[in-house]
């Protein structure tokens, strides 16, 4: 219990004192236990009063302070700062809200308002009597960030973090960097191609001595918390030595007898077991796909740098923050969905882009020239029956861009867009306008009546009830049907499971708050970037990558983190580990430890957010939340009754 509490009751220039008799409140509380001085003030928040409070606290050695004024949302922090300036620990300050919840709410009942104000101030005094000085939980932070995924978002974030002054580990599961953008040629709103963008970013990554790139690398174990995460990384070998001779490598690729579908080209082409995705790929060193390699030894005969003795390595990294930029998968249509997998000239948009890449003057697919192209939008997005209710955001623009590119690049191209309402938002609108001017045909249906693709003899027909022409039944004979497949979350995303990153309804990573904290997760120290958080185009991914880099950097930059000390506390004697608190905790802040020959729960103060969800579930009442202990809450209740 305290002996020297100072109480300040604010008039708020009449906002309070017009309805609450502040002098009566002062008299009613001045003899409460522990109260040393009780004053009224015209404006508690005014500089002059703040100065007076600082003098009182310092000169009178006050050990607790209550200000009864407006809502704590406005001035709790102001007055905590006042007590700190006076040398009193700020947790000995309690705020009483007698404006929003008293004088204004009860301006129709002055005696009632005054009585309520008295009780509220008394309850604040009761609370401050039981409050304790607290120090922030200090955690040292390792000045290094792990960036998971070396697509364009991950690379951009890594460059930014290194430029800002952090050590960066860029961890890529594939043998090559660039992610999905490496699979793109021409890009919208830019003269750049996907490959040149990847090259530019890769060059910058390699230039930075503070970025270490690991390819073929995957995080397999994690521990620790914000400031100090430990990652165990598995790095699989390429089976090819560095500094190899280029022509020998090409020879090695040539002699390899194994042919497997090339995933980089969405299986429309084949590749060898020793491969790279495209000639100038980064890193410019091929890899051996050991799963498909028959170990026939042909490559070793023509190339001295093949080394099958390379072993899988395990690294332990320590970082202060983790930035996830694990990207997306293109939606894979089900067999039979708009004829996919059954009708041979039905392909996906990513495949179409690769088909364009491999065509020269004429657009060719499976040996036939393509002239009439039907694009079916929203495949795997905005599903009526399926799980994916969301819009994939980038595909309308990407499709129109591809259609316009096809028209510019090849002769005799006719585009038919079977859409559900074109969403070329913002400046992308001009592209839609351009395609319409170039004669592209747009046909639209609603969600409930999608177009139908069918085979009639050797012809592929797309049918639609077009709402743009008074619901006419229209048919188009197409040489190629392109299914505009949306973005879906990465199927294989083990790191998310290891770190328990929360996912949204759409199964993409979930941010804490779309507007307040769009790149942070509820797990302190873990940020999310790019399409791992939801569909985005390249520019939007970059913005989110740069934002995430800033957040991760500010975590590791100071070298030390100060966390709120208002966390859960275990009564060791009363705790009989039952695990209910662990189940209730949304942050996994509890661990089971041994204590005096029994098992009890322990709170990790750096993880606990002080929500208190664990409090009511404890059967033995062995958990208290600092600032909301039973004594504090019950004494407040006693004062209010």
């Amino acid at each position: 219990m305290k002996k020297k509490i100072g109480v300040y009751i604010c008039h708020c220039g009449g906002n309070i004192s017009d309805y609450v008799d502040v002098e009566q409140v002062r008299k009613a509380v001045e003899n409460e236990p522990g109260v040393f001085l009780a004053k009224t003030t015209m404006f508690a928040c005014a500089d002059s009063n703040q100065k007076e409070m600082v003098e009182d606290i310092a000169a009178q050695h006050l050990d607790g302070v209550v200000v009864a004024s407006c809502s704590p949302k406005l001035h709790l922090i102001t007055f905590r700062a006042v007590t700190e300036r006076a040398g009193l620990n700020k947790y000995n300050y309690v705020h009483a809200n007698i404006r929003e919840q008293v004088s204004w709410a009860h301006s129709d009942n002055k005696p009632g308002a005054t009585e309520k104000a008295i009780r509220i101030v008394k309850s604040a005094i009761a609370k401050v009597n039981r409050s304790e000085s607290l120090e922030p939980v200090k955690v040292s932070a390792t000045k290094a960030v792990a960036v998971i995924g070396a697509g364009v978002a991950g690379m951009r974030a890594a460059i930014e973090l290194a430029e800002a002054g952090s050590e960066v580990y860029l961890i890529e599961r594939e043998h090559f960097v660039g992610g999905r953008v490496a699979q793109f040629d021409d890009l919208c709103v830019s003269t750049e191609t996907g490959k040149t963008l990847v090259t530019r970013l890769y060059d910058e990554v390699m230039k930075h001595k503070h970025v270490t790139l690991f390819t073929g690398a995957e995080v397999i174990e994690t521990s620790g918390s914000v400031g100090n995460f430990n990652l165990k990384v598995k790095v699989v070998p390429r089976y090819i030595e560095l500094r190899c001779k280029e022509h020998q490598l090409q020879d090695a690729i040539d002699v390899c007898p194994v042919q497997v579908p090339d995933e980089f080209n969405f299986n429309i082409t084949m590749r060898k077991a020793i491969y790279h995705n495209y000639p100038s790929e980064y890193p410019q060193l091929p890899a051996i796909d050991i799963k498909n390699c028959t170990r026939c030894g042909e490559c070793e005969k023509v190339c001295e740098n093949i080394n099958f003795d390379q072993k899988t390595e395990y690294l332990n990294l320590k970082v202060g923050s983790i930035l996830l930029a694990t990207g997306f998968d293109p939606y894979e249509p089900k067999r039979g969905e708009f004829g996919y997998g059954e009708i041979e000239n039905v392909v996906t948009l990513p495949q179409f882009k690769r088909i364009m890449h491999y065509s020269k003057d004429k657009l060719m697919y499976r040996g036939k020239q393509i002239k009439h192209i039907a694009y079916i939008y929203c495949v795997g997005s905005r599903q009526v029956d399926g799980e994916n209710k969301y819009c994939s955001r980038y595909c309308c623009t990407a499709t129109i861009h591809s259609a316009v590119t096809a028209k510019n690049k090849f002769k005799d191209i006719y585009n038919y867009h079977f859409n559900r309402g074109i969403r070329t938002y913002g400046k992308q609108e001009v592209l839609y306008d351009e395609s319409s001017r170039k004669g592209d045909i747009y046909l639209q249906s609603f969600e409930d009546a999608p177009p139908v693709v069918e085979k009639k003899g050797d012809k592929t027909i797309v049918k639609i009830t077009d709402i743009l022409t008074n619901n006419k039944e229209l048919e188009v004979e197409a040489d190629l049907v392109v299914l505009v497949t949306g973005m879906v979350p990465r199927k294989e995303n083990s790191i998310a499971g290891l770190l328990k990153v929360p996912k949204g309804r759409d199964n993409f990573f979930n941010e804490i708050h779309m507007k307040l904290r769009p790149v942070e997760t509820v797990i302190d120290g873990i940020t999310i970037a790019g399409a791992s958080q939801g569909p985005k185009n390249i520019m939007e991914s970059m913005n989110s990558a740069l934002s995430a880099a800033t957040k991760s950097f500010s975590i590791v930059n100071a070298g030390e983190l100060a966390l709120e000390p208002t966390v859960a506390k275990i009564d060791k004697e009363n705790c009989e580990w039952c695990g209910k608190c662990d189940e209730a905790c949304p942050y996994s802040a509890f661990t089971k430890i041994e204590y005096n020959g029994k098992f009890i729960a322990e709170v990790n103060e750096t993880i606990c957010k002080g929500c208190g969800m664990c409090l009511p579930v404890c059967d033995t009442n062995a958990i208290e939340l600092i600032g909301f202990t039973d004594k504090e809450v019950e004494s407040m209740i006693d004062a209010l009754v």
């Binding site: 809200n97 008293v102 204004w104 009942n109 009585e115 309520k116 929500c611 969800m613 009511p616």
Partner: protein, 135 residues
């Protein structure tokens, strides 16, 4: 006499939440939406942090009713809040029954950060309920 009016009105303790429902209660004041001054608020971080023990303490010490102004789905600590707050409700009402306290003296509703009007409606109708002589 107005003071008499104050004393006759049932006392309600509201557990509000610092980030969601307490701002709504603040805004009720800002908008001068009046409600009985016998409604008192203790803000906590999250509505699923309210211990049944606290509720029983309030009812036993003389509060006529306890109202949990829950975060609902807006809870900054995650979506499980709704379910967990409901569990607190159920558990407490069971304890109340065991002690012979009318379980309807505990009420809960989700109050979003701008739900000032719903808040006032809730506490007014709760007050009316508690006023009935049988309660």
């Amino acid at each position: 006499m107005e003071a008499g009016k104050v004393n006759n009105s049932p006392k309600i303790l509201v557990f509000s939440t610092e980030k969601i429902s307490d701002p709504a209660i603040d805004m009720a004041g800002l908008l001068k939406l009046h409600y009985p001054p016998t409604v008192y608020t203790i803000p906590v971080p999250c509505s699923s942090a309210v211990k049944p023990k606290w509720i029983l303490h309030a009812l036993e010490q003389g509060f006529d009713g306890v109202f949990i102004a829950a975060d609902g789905t807006d809870c900054p600590y995650g979506e499980s809040c709704t379910e967990k707050t409901a569990q607190v409700m159920t558990a407490t009402q069971q304890l109340m029954k065991d002690k012979g306290i009318d379980p309807a003296r505990l009420k809960m509703a989700a109050i979003c950060s701008v739900c000032s009007e719903p808040f006032v409606k809730h506490v007014k109708s709760f007050t009316e309920y508690l006023k009935k002589p049988s309660n």
